[in-house]
Amino acid sequence: MIRLDGLRVRVGSFDLVDISFEVPTGGYALIIGPTGSGKTTLLDAIAGHAPLLAGRVLAHGRDVSSLPPEQRRLGIVYQQYHLFPHLSVGENIAYGLRYAAGDGSEATATRVRALAGLLGITALLERGVRGLSGGEQQRVAIARALAPRPSVLLLDEPFAAVDPATRTILRRELRVLHEAEGITTLQVTHDFDDALRLGDMVAVMAEGHIVQQGRPEDVFRYPNSAFVARFVGTGNVVAGQVERTGEPGADGRFAARFVSGTLELHVIADREGLAHAVIRPEDLLLSSTPLPGSIRNRIEVVVERVEHLGPVVQVQLAAGRDLVAAVTTATASDLGLRPGVRVWLGLKATAVHLV
């Protein structure tokens, strides 16, 4: 377990305020935010390289806030991996074992071989670290961080320095490794995909604050602001005006109309006035005739562009505002979607999330 308790940190121009977050033992949590939101500074503060102005860092119940970095037992892997260039791969991995309990050349060698086996880098042990590929460097850096059995693993943008193809492989490996070792992990990233694929918990940072936290699927589905919606890529974010059309129910929510330019949608709202409508692309249903049943919004729209992205097809629509819908390849070919085609758009009132 690692718990951040009201952290306040200032390094250079970065100012982190009131950061509170908890990762349960064995959990995998991510802190995501755009470049410059202070993510790396936060990792440095946790690891003891940036002084805390306020708050505490607890690792498995122990307050480590005033301990020097070497006594916090936190493994760290930086974005550029930062392998020791004057040591071989094996020496890099063994670096932290000098201080491990039960140190000894045999115990060290065993641990290094075990980790190298786990990460598939046994063949590299005798080599220098120059000339390793990005993926190999990452594996060595992870093995090095795990060797002294830290209580928490901190990862700083571990996939930013590799291509997307390698990223997919490394992501899978990291997940498997996490499940095998069960080590509490905290990763900072700017890529929400990492959170969806790896995390149990996610916190979104902006300008030194945590603006939303929760399970990745929940943050993705119910972002609490237009910023979060745009940043996690929930989909369509449209600014407009909410006007009440029905009486509030027991929960205070009421039927309303959301107006943005010439786009008008039936929605369920809990307040009137200016708001953003967040609509997931897969909730926009396309059909050749108006959809029947409980779907309140039915609009005839024109297809502007069709993008085939593997399993999904993204369809950009002119509907007063530009909207993006996601459909399956099969649906796209059934409807003959291509620029200029007119189709019916269906959208449930409850699928419009107002923030």
């Binding site: 070497e70 493994g75 930086y78 670096y95 932290g96």
Partner: protein, 250 residues
Amino acid sequence: MLALLGSMLILFIVGPLVRLLFMASPSGLGSALADPELQASIALTVMCATAATAIAAALGVPLAYLLARARFPGRRLLLGIVDLPVVIPHPVAGIALLLFLGRHSAVGGALASLGLEFVSHVPGIVAGMLFVSAPILVSGAREAFVTVDPKLERVARSLGDSAWGCFRRVTLPLAGRGILAGGILAWARSVSEFGSIVILTYNPKVASILIFDRFTAYGLPAAVPAAVLLLMVALAVFALVRLVEPREHR
């Protein structure tokens, strides 16, 4: 066009040195090597330069590390002060050291009462050399430390190293070549010093003063063999720096 202008400058640097090297006949060089006064003076020069470099390293490497890593008020001022001796005219430096370390000053008086005399003594040579060469060692070591990514040190700390352990196991091994190159250059600069030593300690004579002395007393031909010998030492040291220096720097 660029190359032409540039090669004129190269020629201006190489020409005189080559010409001097060609002036020395093997016999002249041989007799220079056998000259006991020149032998003694080269030995003195090497000894003093080594002492000056050792002191510069002992005091300068820690300073270089602080200047490379720590951020504190007055850091820029310190950076300036360290480089200051480069622009001080050498006889002015000699006079300043004479005043500072002479028997009549507070510092010099105190040291003299401990038996450490500078003016017209060997320690004066070392002081002059230290004054002009320390900046070279400090700036070389500082650059070497700057090239060691602080994140490597953070990784080492997170793996259990104390600040000192991390310095010894990571920082020093990675900065070592750069520091060594700075030390060799500082040593060579010490050997080359003349203007401040001529004021502080004319006797016993280091090599550059001996050459000057012979030139003024007996003219050019008397000075050339010793000059060639000293030039060869300088070139050898210089070649050594180039071999030691980390390649990435260039």
